[in-house]
């Protein structure tokens, strides 16, 4: 490091690769003082004037604001506020064309100037030493200072760094042709600039402070040397004029000989760079509590009568600046106006765009000066592979190669050629004998690469979210299934505990049900075996969903136990009584019989009618489906039956069978509805057998819902009405039976299917006999 300082003291510097010497054109403006402008009528203040994000609005249309009053508030570290450049009234907050090459609109505050220029209250600070570093950084942030040389990076972030700083470099090179804003600022306000540098020194405490300035600004060099005399740390480094010596990496290389590697920031090498205008703004903000509301703008070009540097309030429309400097449109419809220098600037879409924090130059060239600016890019011809571009590129790129790849949109290749290192300096385009607007191609390619990267990021995010959602749905499904299983197990456990014989009873009942259903199927369908096998086949294809439907129907049917069928006569009733093979079975049978008896008394005539109707309907398609479902159930139940008592052809079986017989008549839709209702009821009943009042209510409600849908199927309705009359115990049993059936169905496997099929057939034959 000492050797670097030694070299600097000897005024010996390194040099960077390439570089060009475009005509400087600085004499147009660098002999005249900075002119203070009269206030324009209206200011247009874009909310975002720097890289990063815009702040949140603090004002409304109609508000009267004072000079220096903040208009936005920063809520994000990358946001800096904007301030009212003078006092006045806000007339609009709307989208307006901003100083951007695209000519797109962004949100702007329109301020009508009241010409009073009244300041908000300020608290100047006479002694920086009394402030802590945090306070200084906060003041810099609140003053809305962002880098005033280049892209406009928020300054408070740059100066709030922790690591040891070897070099603080003040960029005063101002290498671009025409521009003299920093030059004049240094001549006129070198004291303030040095004050700003001192503040930065306090913040960053660098080992050395280097001011890099090109040798084409003798007055500014003199002024700076005078102002810094006696400060050991500060070295004014006069470097040879060469474009683009003012580029960040280039200036670092010139002054320290260090090359900043591709993709890294100078801070890695312990180097921080600030622009002179930023130093001035910092000193104004800290010492005079003046936010960044104005800047020096070079208004130049041969289309102007009086090109000059001016103090422009931020938000001043460009046409106002031009008119103040004697703009002559040369009798042409449209004269190009360029913001920024001729090498890196861009043509303005309209001259109403406002001056922003990074605007250092407004260039209005005459036709003679820059004919190409008037004519567009008609001059471009094929690349002749002269290689001049590679010779002048300050970042050691291969502009020619880049150009080919950019035209071919070969983005991977562009990345390989380090396009991202290109600083858009325009040196290559300047020397290109084929007039290829190289930088233009690079800018397009860069924008496209950036967008592609964003899309990739977004795709990555979308993928992650998609996967996360899938996982979530999966988890929820599993949780639901687990819950259902647990509930089922809990019920089973409760049943087993309450009555040890329950399992046996259950299987017996299930078996009975199966047999009866098989019988019924045999009765209803044609007696030929082919007729039977058809629905069985359908059954095989039934997926889980159908099985669930079937289960629901089974539950619904279980409800119907209590319902009497017309066939039930004294004979069957009589059968109920003597059958006491099993005490449990007998109990169920008794309960069912009781309910049946009651029903048959009440509804026998109607049921008879219904039954007839059902039988006539039984050939309909819906019925076929219902039959298929019934068959599936029968199969599953038959399997169960195999393990249970085979000789359990008791009255209760028959009872259930007769009940079940009305089932096929319910068309599928009705069945589904009924099933849903039944499920709900079974659950409610099983759960709340103590609160029978609530039960009844639920049942009643369901009945009401069902009735309008089942105009013709009164049997179903009556069944549900019936449910109200079932005692708690019956309800429990019904639920249990339904569960058993559902379980059997769910467990149904292909291997057992064939077995059960045989059994079903066997049963059907038996039943037929």
């Amino acid at each position: 490091m000492e050797s670097i300082i030694n070299r600097i003291n000897q005024q010996k510097f390194w040099s960077f690769h390439g570089g060009v010497h475009p005509p400087e054109q600085k004499t147009l403006t660098n002999q005249k003082p900075i002119k203070p402008l009269s206030l324009p009528e209206q200011l247009i203040i874009p909310l975002q004037q720097h890289i990063g994000r815009q702040g949140d609005l603090l004002v409304q249309v109609g508000d009267h604001v004072l000079k220096g009053q903040p208009l936005t508030k920063s809520t994000n570290p990358m946001a800096v506020p904007v301030h009212a450049p003078t006092s006045g009234t806000i007339t609009a907050i709307k989208h307006s064309v901003i100083a951007h090459p695209s000519g797109l609109s962004e949100l702007c505050i329109f301020l009508n100037v009241d010409h009073q220029d009244t300041w908000v209250e300020r608290t100047p600070c006479n002694d920086v030493a009394t402030l802590t570093n945090q306070e200084i950084v906060k003041k810099i942030a609140d003053a809305g200072i962002s880098g005033m040389g280049g892209a406009g990076f928020p300054t408070h972030i740059k100066v709030d760094t922790k690591p040891d700083i070897n070099f603080l470099i003040i960029n005063a090179a101002e290498c671009e042709p025409y521009i003299t804003a920093d030059d004049l600022l240094m001549c006129e306000h070198s004291e303030s600039i040095v004050d700003g540098i001192k503040i930065l020194n306090k913040l960053l405490n660098p080992a050395f402070i280097l001011i890099g300035i090109e040798d084409n600004k003798p007055k500014a060099i003199e002024a700076l040397k005078k102002a810094t005399a006696g400060i050991e740390k500060i070295h004014v480094c006069v470097v040879p004029t060469e474009y683009p010596a003012g580029g960040e990496k280039q200036l670092i290389q010139i002054l320290t000989g260090k090359e900043i590697k591709s993709g890294t920031l100078p801070i890695k090498e312990g180097i921080i760079m600030q622009n002179v205008a930023t130093c001035y703004a910092i000193s104004e903000a800290i010492l005079h509590d003046t936010p960044l509301i104005q800047r020096v703008v070079t208004v130049t070009g041969q289309a102007l009568e009086k090109p000059q540097n001016v103090w422009a309030l931020l938000g001043t429309p460009v046409h106002y600046l031009l008119s103040q400097c004697g703009f002559d449109n040369q009798g042409m419809e449209k004269t190009p106006v360029i913001m920024g220098g001729p090498m890196m600037g861009f043509s303005l879409p309209t001259d109403t765009v406002p001056v922003i924090k990074t605007t250092n130059c407004i260039l209005a060239p005459s036709y003679k000066e820059m004919p190409s600016a008037f004519e567009g890019n008609s001059a471009e011809v094929e690349c002749i592979r002269c290689g001049q571009c590679a010779d002048v590129c300050p970042t050691n790129l291969l502009p020619q190669e880049l150009q080919w790849s950019a035209k071919a949109k070969d983005y991977p290749q562009l990345n390989k050629l380090n396009l991202s290192d290109c600083i858009d300096c325009g040196a290559c385009a300047y020397v290109c004998p084929s007039h290829i607007p190289l930088v233009q191609y690079y800018r397009i390619a860069k924008a496209e690469i950036r967008q592609q990267q964003q899309q990739e990021l977004k795709a990555e995010k979308a993928k992650a979210r998609f996967e996360a959602r899938k996982q979530r749905l999966e988890k929820e499904k599993r949780a639901r299934e687990l819950k259902h299983k647990k509930a089922a197990e809990a019920r089973k456990a409760a049943m087993n505990k309450a009555t040890p014989e329950a399992t046996e009873a259950k299987s017996a009942v299930a078996a009975a049900l199966a047999r009866v259903k098989a019988k019924k199927a045999a009765n209803q369908k044609s007696p030929s075996s082919s007729a039977i096998s058809a629905p069985v086949e359908t059954t095989e294809n039934q997926d889980n969903k159908k099985a669930q439907v079937a289960a629901a129907i089974a539950r619904a049917k279980a409800k119907k136990q209590a319902k009497p069928a017309p066939e039930i006569d004294a004979k069957e009733n009589a059968k109920v009584e003597p059958s006491n093979t099993d005490s449990k079975k007998a109990k169920i049978a008794a309960a069912v019989a009781k309910a049946k008896a009651k029903k048959s008394q009440e509804k026998a005539p109607i049921q008879g009618q219904e039954q007839n109707q059902e039988q006539t309907d039984s050939l309909s398609l819906a019925d076929k489906k219902a039959n298929a479902i019934a068959k599936a159930k029968a199969k599953a139940l038959a399997k169960k039956q195999a393990s249970s008592n085979n000789d359990s052809s008791t009255a209760s079986d028959l009872t259930i069978a007769s009940t079940a017989e009305s089932e096929p008549a319910i068309d599928e839709k009705d069945a589904k509805k009924a099933a849903v209702i039944a499920k709900a009821k079974a659950k409610a009943l099983a759960k709340k057998n103590k609160e029978s009042n609530t039960d009844n209510k639920v049942s009643e409600k369901n009945t009401v819902n069902v009735e309008p849908r089942k105009v013709q199927n009164t049997s179903e309705t009556s069944t549900i009405n019936d449910t109200n009359n079932i005692s708690d115990k019956d309800a429990k049993k019904a639920a249990i039976i339904a569960k058993a059936k559902a379980k059997a169905l769910a467990k149904k496997k292909l291997a057992t299917q064939s077995v059960s099929e045989e059994k079903t057939m066997h049963e059907q034959e038996k039943g037929a006999k």
């Binding site: 475009p22 005509p23 901003i98 951007h100 090459p101 695209s102 000519g103 797109l104 962004e106 042709p177 190009p336 360029i338 001729p342 090498m343 600037g345 861009f346 043509s347 003679k368 000066e369 820059m370 004919p371 190409s372 600016a373 567009g376 890019n377 001059a379 325009g426 385009a429 300047y430 007039h435 607007p437 930088v439 233009q440 800018r443 397009i444 860069k446 924008a447 496209e448 967008q451 964003q454 899309q455 977004k458 795709a459 990555e460 995010k461 979308a462 993928k463 979210r465 998609f466 996360a468 959602r469 979530r472």
Partner: protein
């Protein structure tokens, strides 16, 4: 004797190198990215289902299994070309059945009209809709992939697809540059 030694030596060397190679093949094994993953990486991850599959990954799987490569509308020609390169097949034009307009879009809920039925939430493949039953819903625009799937389920037709506006952030530099001339 010399013969024996020679055989022994060469045998040893062979065994040594064999072991070395065997070890290297295990130690430096490269996990080849399965083709499905590679295709999936190319797809735009809009998860819109326009290809006829429930998301990009299933379509990637299908392409790997021989499905046509020209079914992803959001990806457009670029994606087709990339898949064609990857699979070593001819690129083909986008499936005719898709609409041509594949400018980036995001969904937008006209919030006054939303009845809070949550149907759109269930349809969104990337959970980019925020809301709760009987509450107003809204789209998290940053997460929306523009897949269009939430538009149809809305019973009050209050979701529409809006083209992403061009801003200074996503603008693609199509303008004339300012060339510099030597003047005398």
């Amino acid at each position: 004797m010399t013969l024996l030694i020679a055989i022994l030596v060469f045998g040893l060397i062979a065994a040594l190198f064999g072991a070395l190679l065997g070890y290297a093949s295990i130690r430096f094994k490269v996990d080849a990215d399965p083709i499905v993953e590679q295709i999936d990486a190319i797809l735009p991850q809009t998860q819109c289902g326009q290809c006829g599959y429930p998301g990009c990954k299933p379509y990637a799987q299908a392409v790997a299994d021989g499905e046509a490569i020209n079914k992803c509308a959001p990806g457009g020609e670029d994606t087709i070309k990339k898949i064609a390169d990857l699979m070593g097949v001819e690129a083909e034009p986008l499936d005719e059945s898709h609409e041509k307009d594949n400018r980036p879009k995001v969904a937008f809920i006209i919030e006054e009209d939303c009845i809070g039925c949550t149907k759109c939430i269930q349809a969104c493949p990337v959970d980019a809709i925020l809301g709760a039953a009987k509450q107003m819903h809204t789209i998290i625009a940053d997460e929306c992939t523009g897949c269009d799937l939430c538009v149809a389920p809305c019973p009050v037709d209050c979701i529409e697809m809006r083209v992403v506006p061009e801003t200074t952030q996503n603008w693609l530099w199509d303008l004339n540059s300012i060339p510099v001339q030597q003047i005398d």
